[in-house]
Subunit: 595 residues, 2 copies
C-alpha cells in the first residue's frame, strides 16, 4: 500500500534559506510566521496529511461517492471524521482574513500546506479546497452583509463552497451560457439551469454548501455573450437573518459523473430549478469576480499537479529500493541477496532523477511565485505590489500548465518503475496517474493556459511583466557569474533565458501579423517558460545550498539534483524553441476535412 511522508526539510530549506521568509517580518501576516510558528504549522500539517488523510486515499478511490435516491451524496468511509479533524484543526482558515476567523498567514505557507494535503489525498482536499475560491470571491466582491453572512462559516469549515461555470455545451466559452436568473421583487433572483462538473457540489461533510453560480440575468438589458454573465450566491440551505439555516433551496444533484479518477470527490450535475440566488458584485460583471476565484484556483491546481508527482515519486522510490530484480550492469551491488534492488539500474535512476529534479525545482518555483502572491497585496509600496502582481499574473498560467502536465507525466513514469504491479490497483501507482490527469483539464485546460500566457499575459502593459522577469534573471546572472560553485547553474540559466527571450521575440514579431502563430506556438512557449522558471529556482537553491554542501548531505544532494536538471532536462528547451518558431504554417496547413 502506498504511503506519504511530508518533505519538511525541503519546505524549511526553501522558506528559510532560499526565500528568507523572516526578512518579510514587517509585513502583515508575516510577523506571525515566526520560525517556531512555521515549524509548528508544517509539523501539524504533516501529521494531518500522513496520519489522517493519506490512509483514506486508496480506500476513497475504491469506494467512491454514492448518490442516494433523495439526491443526497455520501462520501467514502472515514471522510466525515477526517473532515472534522481538518476543521477542528483550523486548517481551512490558515490564510483567511482574521476579521472572519482566519489566521491571516502568508499564502506561501498555505501553498506548503496545500501540497502536503493534496499529495496525501487529492480527492478529499478538494472539498475544503473549493471553499477557498468561494471565500475569495465573496471576500473581494461581496457586500459587507454577504461577507458577514457567509464568510465566518466558510472559514471555519462549517460550510463549504463551489464554483459553477460549466454547462453541458460550454466550458471554455462561457458566453454560450444558458443558465438564467429572473429578478425578483425582493432583490433576489430565481436561478434556473444545469451546471456540470461541479466538484464537491453535494456531499455529507458540512451542514451547508454555498454555490457560486454564473448565470445571465433575464431581460433586455443583458448584453449578449460573455459580457452578460453575472455571479450569484446560491446556498444549498437559505440562511435566515439570525444566521440559522432555513429552507432547502431549489438546487439538487441530478447525478454524479463517472470519472477516470478523483473518485472520492463528488463531481455533480447540479440542477437549479428556480433556486433563490443573490447577485454578488455588479450585474453583468460576473466574469471579473469569477477570475478572482480562478487565478487562485489555478495556482492551487498547479500545486495538485506537483503533489501527485511527489506522492508517486516517493512510492516509486520505495518500490525501487525494495524490489530485487536483475543485477547492476557494473556487477552485483548486493551479492548476498538473490538480486539487486532495481534502483541500481541506470534507467530506473533516470526516471527517479527526472521526477526528483522536477519536484524540487517546481516546488521552489511555485513557492517563489506564491510569495509574490503575498507581496502583491502586502508589500509596502505600490511599485513593489504592482511588480509582484505582474509576476503572479504572468507565472500563474505557466505554473498551472507546466506543473500539471509534468506532474501527470511523472506519475506515469513513476508507475512504470513498478513494472506490471504499476497497473494493478492495490499498489496505488495507477491512482496517482488517474487523479493527476484531471489537473491538466480543470480550471482551464492547459491549452487555455498557454493562450492566456501568449495572448494576454505577455502583451499586457507592453510586456512589462515578461521584461521584469528577464531583469530578475539577469540580476541573478550578473551577481553570480563569477561564483565557480554556481557555474553550471548560471550557465544553464543563461542558456534557457536566451532561448526564452528568443521565443518571446519571435512571438512579439509574428503574432500580430497572424494570431494563429501565437496559438500554434503557445504550448511550446509555455513549456519553455516552465523550464526557465525551474532553472531559476534551481539556481536560487544552488546558491543557498553551495556554501553548506561540504558538510551537509541535504545541501550536497541539492547540488547533484540541480546539476541533473541542467544537464538532462534543460536540453528540451531547444526543441520547444525550434518547434514554436515553425509557426502556424505546418499546424494549419491541412484542411479540416483531411483529418
Amino acid at each position: 500500500m502506498p504511503s506519504y511522508t511530508a518533505p519538511l526539510a525541503d519546505y524549511r530549506f526553501i522558506l528559510n534559506d532560499v526565500l528568507d521568509l523572516q526578512s518579510y517580518g514587517d509585513l502583515p501576516g508575516f510577523a506571525d510566521a515566526t520560525p517556531d510558528m512555521v515549524d509548528a504549522i508544517l509539523d501539524g500539517a504533516a501529521r494531518l496529511a500522513e496520519d489522517v488523510l493519506q490512509p483514506l486515499n486508496h480506500s476513497g478511490d475504491q469506494e467512491g461517492c454514492t448518490r442516494n435516491a433523495d439526491g443526497s451524496v455520501t462520501t467514502p468511509k472515514g471522510f466525515k471524521e477526517a473532515y472534522r479533524q481538518f476543521t477542528d484543526g483550523g486548517w481551512g482558515a490558515l490564510t483567511s482574513d482574521p476579521d472572519y476567523g482566519g489566521q491571516g498567514l502568508p499564502n506561501v505557507l498555505g501553498s506548503c500546506f496545500s501540497e502536503m494535503v493534496s499529495a496525501a489525498n487529492m480527492a478529499f482536499v478538494m472539498y475544503p479546497g473549493l471553499s477557498h475560491g468561494a471565500y475569495s470571491a465573496i471576500h473581494v466582491h461581496g457586500s459587507q452583509a454577504q461577507r458577514d453572512t457567509y464568510l465566518p462559516n466558510i472559514v471555519s469549515g462549517a460550510w463549504t463552497g463551489t464554483m459553477n461555470l460549466t454547462e453541458p455545451h460550454c466550458g471554455t466559452d462561457l458566453g454560450l451560457m444558458r443558465t438564467r436568473a429572473e429578478p425578483q421583487a425582493d432583490g433576489s433572483y430565481r436561478i434556473s439551469g444545469t451546471k456540470i462538473f461541479i466538484s464537491a457540489g453535494e456531499h455529507d461533510l458540512a451542514e451547508n454548501i454555498i454555490h457560486l453560480v454564473l448565470a445571465k440575468i433575464a431581460g433586455p438589458d443583458t448584453p449578449a455573450g460573455i459580457k452578460g454573465v453575472s455571479l450569484f450566491i446560491v446556498p444549498k440551505y437559505l440562511v435566515n437573518a439570525d444566521g440559522t439555516l432555513g429552507a432547502r433551496n431549489g438546487v439538487s444533484c441530478g447525478s454524479l459523473e463517472h470519472k477516470m479518477g478523483i473518485h472520492a470527490n463528488a463531481t455533480c450535475v447540479l440542477n437549479y430549478d428556480g433556486a433563490t440566488g443573490y447577485l454578488i458584485g455588479e450585474a453583468h460583471k460576473g466574469m471579473r469576480a469569477m477570475f478572482t476565484m480562478m487565478n487562485e484556483a489555478r495556482l492551487g491546481v498547479a500545486v495538485q499537479g506537483l503533489s501527485q508527482s511527489v506522492a508517486a515519486y516517493q512510492n516509486a522510490v520505495a518500490y525501487a529500493k525494495d524490489r530485487l530484480q536483475g543485477r547492476s550492469l557494473t556487477g552485483p551491488k548486493f551479492p548476498d541477496k538473490p538480486a539487486d534492488p532495481i534502483i541500481v539500474h541506470p534507467d530506473i535512476r533516470r526516471v527517479l532523477m527526472n521526477i526528483k529534479a522536477f519536484n524540487e525545482g517546481a516546488r521552489a518555483f511555485m513557492l517563489w511565485t506564491s510569495l509574490h502572491g503575498d507581496l502583491a497585496h502586502k508589500a509596502k509600496d505600490e511599485t513593489a505590489r504592482e511588480a509582484s502582481e505582474d509576476l503572479m499574473g504572468l507565472l500563474t498560467p505557466v505554473l498551472k500548465g507546466y506543473l500539471t502536465d509534468k506532474g501527470f507525466a511523472n506519475a506515469v513514469d513513476a508507475q512504470q518503475v513498478y513494472g506490471g504491479h504499476g497497473y494493478i490497483a492495490e499498489w496505488g501507482a495507477e491512482q496517482f496517474v488517474r487523479d493527476a490527469r484531471i489537473a491538466m483539464i480543470y480550471e482551464g485546460a492547459n491549452g487555455i493556459q498557454a493562450l492566456d500566457l501568449v495572448g494576454r499575459k505577455l502583451a499586457a502593459n507592453g510586456g512589462r511583466a515578461v521584461f521584469a522577469w528577464f531583469r530578475i534573471l539577469d540580476d541573478f546572472i550578473a551577481a553570480n557569474q563569477d561564483d565557480a560553485a554556481l557555474a553550471p547553474f548560471v550557465a544553464g540559466l543563461r542558456s534557457v533565458r536566451g532561448q526564452l527571450e528568443d521565443g518571446t521575440t519571435w512571438l512579439m514579431n509574428n503574432s500580430l501579423s497572424n494570431f494563429d502563430n501565437a496559438g500554434a506556438a503557445s504550448m511550446d512557449y509555455l513549456y519553455l517558460f516552465g523550464l526557465c522558471g525551474l532553472a531559476y529556482a534551481w539556481a536560487l537553491m544552488a546558491k543557498a545550498a553551495a556554501p553548506k554542501a561540504a558538510s551537509d548531505e541535504f545541501c550536497a544532494a541539492k547540488l547533484v539534483t540541480g546539476r541533473y536538471f541542467v544537464e538532462r532536462m534543460l536540453p528540451d528547451a531547444a526543441a520547444h524553441l525550434a518547434k514554436l518558431k515553425t509557426g502556424a504554417g505546418p499546424v494549419m496547413a491541412l484542411a479540416a476535412e483531411a483529418f
Copy 2:
C-alpha cells in the same frame, strides 16, 4: 459514444504504393495475397472491427470480467458471440501454417488486421492474440506429436493459449523463478507454483486453454538461475489420445487482478497444483522457446500502442469538428453558428497533427518491419533472410518501446481535446488512455526494450544490423537527394540519421568502459531511433505520394502531414541526443539513500 473506422485507404497505400507487396508474389504466401484477396481481407477485417468488436469496447470496459465461486471466469456480455464470429471468419488463422488449418498469408497483412481489431477492442483481441504466441512456440519448438495435438485447435480458435512467465517476486528477472516441475515416470511433469498477470488465463470463450508455462525441473541437474528454466505445455483440460478432451488439469484461476484498464480481459493469478505438463523443446532451454513467443508478441504490443493512438485520434477529431467553443483567432470561420468548432484553434490542430503524423508514420514503419519479418523466413537467399532477420531483431525493441510510449502519450493528448468530457467515462477518451497504458509495461517494460536495444541488438555480430540500417537510409538519401519534391524529407532524414549515428558512435565508444553509460543512454537512444524510423517511413511515403499529389487529395495530405513530422516532431531528436551523451554521470551521481 466512441466509434472506429478502419483506415483502409492508408493500408492500401502502404501495402501497394510504398511496400509494393505484389513484387514479392513469387514468395510463399505472397502469391495468395493478390490485390483482390488483400482488398477482401482488409474489408472483412474492417467489418469485424467496426461492426462486431468496437460496439463491445466500452461496455466490456464498464462490465469487466467476473470470477465465479468455482474459479471459472465469465467475460463481458457479447464477448462469446463476438468470439464465435471471430473464429467462424477464420480470423485467427490468417497467417498460420496451412498444414494446421492456417491460411499462410504474410505477416504484413496480419499486422494490418491486428491494428484494426486492436483499435476496435484491445481487451477482446488479447484472447485470440495470446493464442498466437502459444501457436508459435509449439510450431517452432514442439514435437510433431505436440504440433498435431494442439495446433489445429489453436489455429481454428477452438482452443486459446497463454504465456506464463511472471511470478509475484519476479518478472524481468526470470532466473528467480520458483515454479517447479517434478518429472513423472510417463515422461510428463507435475507443475506446481503460482503465476501472475496471466492475460486470458481463464475465460468462457473457448473449450480449452493451452497454457505455456516456464518452470524449473526439480533435481540436481537443473542449472541455477535463468539457465535452468524449461517450458511446458499445461492444458486446462488434458487431451485424450483421440483428441477429445479429458480430465480437468490441476490449474485454476485464484483471482482476477483489479487493473487500471483492459478490464474486459481476464488477467489471472493461476495456481498450478501438481498440474500435468509436457516439456516442450529441450530441458533447461525454456527461455529460447519463450523468446520465440516474446519477439512476436512484442511486435504485437507495438501494434496495440499504435492502435490506441489511432482510435483515440479518430474520436478526438470527431469531437473537435463537432464541439462549438470560442472563435478562431483569425476571425469567425462559421459566423452562422454560435461558435466555431474547436478544430479551428491552432493548439487543437497541433495536438491532432502530432497524433496523425505519428500514426501514419508509425504504421508505415511497423508494416515495413513486419514485411521484413516475412522476408526473414521466406526470402529466396540466405543473405536476404539474414538481413531481414537482423532488421527485425534490431527494430522490434524500437517499435515496442516507441510505439507504445508515444501511443499512450497520444491517447492522453487526444483526451485533452475533450476538455472536461475527456475525464468522463461515457465519452470513452479515458478508456483509450487506461487501455494503452499496459502496452508500455507488458512483454518487457519499455526500459527493458531499451536495454535489449543497446545491450544486445546493437552489439550483435559487430553491429551488423545497425550498419545495415544506416546503409538503407544512405541508399535512399543518395537516390533521392536531387528530387526537389522530396527535399524536406531527405533533409530531415539526413539530419536524424546523422544524430542517430552520433548517438550510436557515442554508445560504442562509452559503453564498454562503463556499462552504466549504456543503461543511462538507452531510453533516449530508443526514442532517437524511433524518430529515425518514422523519418524513413515518411520519406518512403512521400516518395510514393509526391507524383500523385497534384491530383489526389489523399497523397496531397500525406505530404502535408509528413512535412509537419519533419518540422515539428524531428526537433526532439537533438534533445534526445544531448541527453544520452551526458552518460551515466548525472544519472548515477546521487547515493541511493538520498532519493
